[in-house]
């Protein structure tokens, strides 16, 4: 089973300040950051081909929904969690039940979510 310290996490977040916070948290947890991607095209490229273990996805990228990226990750079997100000209400029918990290969140919340994603990898 992978530990968080060797985890490569794709970050998709379009707000600079929030992205910086998440990067800091992941760095503190010992993860390697892939991205961050602020645009859907870049996120899709990384989700499709980059070497990643897990992903943290902002639901709304400048008004465009993240779900195609989530679908690409699902197809590759990469576990992911949504980070959203909407909470679970912002998810489409297909993605209800996915892990959601409600913004704002603590580093401990992020750790718990990542540990959950790692458990899916095992």
């Amino acid at each position: 089973m992978k530990t968080l310290s060797s985890l490569k996490v794709l970050v998709v977040e379009d707000e600079a300040l929030v992205s910086m916070l998440v990067e800091d948290m992941l760095t503190d947890l010992g993860c390697t950051i892939i991205g961050p991607a602020a645009e859907i095209e870049e996120a899709l490229r990384l989700a499709g081909s980059a070497d990643i273990d897990a992903a943290l996805l902002d639901v709304n990228l400048g008004g465009r929904p993240i779900f195609p990226v989530a679908d690409a990750l699902k197809a590759r079997g990469v576990p992911f969690a949504f980070a959203s100000g909407y909470g679970e209400a912002g998810l489409t029918e297909d993605h209800r039940g996915s892990t959601v990290l409600q913004k704002p969140f603590r580093e401990a919340d992020l750790r718990r979510v990542l540990e959950g994603l790692v458990a899916q990898l095992a």
Partner: protein, 531 residues
């Protein structure tokens, strides 16, 4: 007896007989005349269609028949004291003849007429034992038309309701015969029947008019409320819909619209629920109050609200009809949806803002040495963020221009006078880009005020931008300040500009630590900036 005398006698007899014959002929002619008049008047009374005309015809006709000088109809007007009678119509005298007199009172003389106990006929009313017994006038008031012969006939319905009285008079005594009394009594009955029929007719018309007006009011209320009305016969499933009700289902007024059409028009997902509600309303007399979607023949989807109630009119106590109204509530439903979206969006923005503030706090904490410095730096960043929010709120969160963002952030640092601008055209920014650039500009300005060109009285900043091939190229150039050295450790501002802002706006941001002053180059694609 002499022949002459005999012949004289015969002549006298003949003359006598001729006179009698003449008299008989005259009486017969008069009788025929009266009968003709009676027939004509009766006919005219029966065919009159207002009370005034009916009474006038009767009075004029009665005078023709009886030779009365005057005729009057007194209307049975019930005063609070129950005794007065108002003059209604006159014949043979101008209305002025009665204008100055108070209403007729129910004296013993008039009582049989207005109590409907019988006809009063008098050859000389002034000799009647009942005449002149009443104070204060004791007889006809001064100036009254002269009356000796008197005939008074009650006008009453078959049910006994006294409508009034026909009163006739003549200045000479002995003018009214038994025959006159008989004929005029018949006329009185005809007047009563006609008035009754006119009143019944008028009542029926008023009732009809009342109903028509009520129906018009209801239709107006339904129309102005855009309410359609409908009525379902439970047994036959016959459905009747008003024009507006049909319109609610996308049908024109002339199009047929059956109950089956209605059910078919309801959105398939809502249909079972609505059919069940109708059944329940019929079976349990439950209130029918439902909202559902319909699909118009044009394919348009609309929302309707229908309310109704079962009417228990069957003899066996069962429900016979379900009737109610329907209203198109599509606009309200859309407003509800918009409201829901807005509340969700607001929640999203607030949560994102909180995450942003959390980030500012965390990173300010990392880069400050003491709580005092933290507080100062954190608060100014928070206020910088708030300034951009204020600017966007003024513009209904539709966006702001690049120059406006510079202005609010520089104003907050009291630095606007020391920064010069050079650009051809302003750039419109999305709210998101405005917030990001606002934070970036704040970091540049606060650094310049603390350590850079704006920390000395002579220094200044020049901001130049151009848009080339859909890319905004902006340069912030400081000069006239203290000599600049590259920092040993990259702080929050540098990280935000070079990493955060560059990533968020899909461009490049580069800080150059020239000895003569800090330079910041930005190259940002317009697609990431403009609304």
């Amino acid at each position: 007896m002499a022949v002459g005398a005999e012949s004289e006698d015969r002549e006298a007899r003949d003359a006598d007989g001729g006179a009698r014959l003449l008299q008989l002929e005259r009486e017969l002619a008069a009788e025929i005349g009266k009968s003709d008049t009676l027939a004509r008047v009766t006919e005219a009374i029966a065919s009159s269609n207002d009370v005034d005309a009916c009474v006038q015809i009767a009075l004029d006709g009665a005078r023709d028949i009886s030779g009365a000088a005057y005729g009057a109809f007194f209307y049975n007007q019930t005063e609070p004291d129950g005794k007065s009678y108002a003059l209604y119509r006159l014949s043979g005298a101008p209305p002025e003849a009665f204008a100055d007199f108070p209403p007729v009172r129910k004296t013993p003389l008039f009582e049989p007429t207005f109590e409907n106990t019988g006809v009063v006929r008098s050859d000389d009313i002034t000799l009647d034992p009942l005449y002149g017994r009443n104070a204060p006038r004791a007889g006809m008031p001064h100036g009254h038309l002269p009356v000796r012969s008197y005939l008074a006939i009650p006008v009453a319905t078959r049910q006994g309701e006294v409508l009034g009285g026909l009163l006739f008079g003549h200045p000479e005594p002995g003018r009214f015969t038994v025959r006159d009394e008989t004929l005029l009594t018949g006329l009185g009955a005809q007047v009563a029947a006609t008035i009754e029929s006119i009143k019944l007719n008028a009542d029926a018309l008023a009732e009809l008019d009342h109903r028509r007006k009520a129906e018009e009011r209801l239709k107006f209320a339904l129309d102005s409320g855009r309410m359609g009305s409908w009525d379902l016969d439970v047994a036959t499933r016959t459905y009747e819909a008003s024009d507006l009700c049909k319109a609610n289902y996308g049908r024109r007024p002339e199009e047929p619209f059956t109950f089956a059409d209605l059910v078919a028009t309801i959105h398939p997902d809502d249909r079972p629920r609505i059919v069940a509600a109708i059944d329940s309303a019929i079976r349990d007399s439950a209130d029918y109050d439902v909202e559902y979607r319909v699909i118009h023949p044009s394919g348009e989807l609309r929302w309707l609200h229908a309310r109704g109630r079962a009417a228990q009119t069957a003899d066996d106590g069962g429900v016979r009809r379900l009737a109610g109204v329907s209203l198109d509530i599509t606009e309200r439903k859309r407003a509800d949806e918009r409201q829901k979206l807005l509340v969700n969006e607001l929640n999203h923005r607030v949560k994102n803002s909180l995450a942003t503030v959390q980030s500012i706090a965390a990173q300010t904490l990392r880069s400050t040495a003491s709580p005092e410095f933290f507080r100062e730096a954190f608060e100014t960043r928070l206020i910088a963020l708030s300034q951009t929010h204020d600017l966007l709120t003024r513009e209904s969160w539709e966006g702001a221009s690049l120059r406006e963002v510079f202005d609010v952030e520089l104003h907050a640092m009291a630095s606007e006078d020391r920064v010069s601008f050079d650009y051809v055209s302003d750039v419109r920014l999305t709210p998101k880009a405005a917030v990001a650039l606002g934070m970036g500009i704040h970091e540049l300005a606060t650094n310049a005020v603390k350590y850079g060109a704006l920390s000395t009285p002579l220094g200044g900043v020049k901001v130049v931008w151009r848009v080339e091939q859909d890319v905004l190229r902006l340069t912030w150039t400081e000069s006239g300040g203290p000599e600049v050295h590259p920092p040993a450790r990259r702080g929050f501002g540098a990280r935000l500009l070079e990493r955060g802002l560059a990533a968020e706006l899909s461009g490049g941001v580069e800080l150059t630590y020239d000895a003569s002053g800090l330079v910041c180059h930005m190259a940002l694609p317009l697609r990431a900036l403009e609304p």
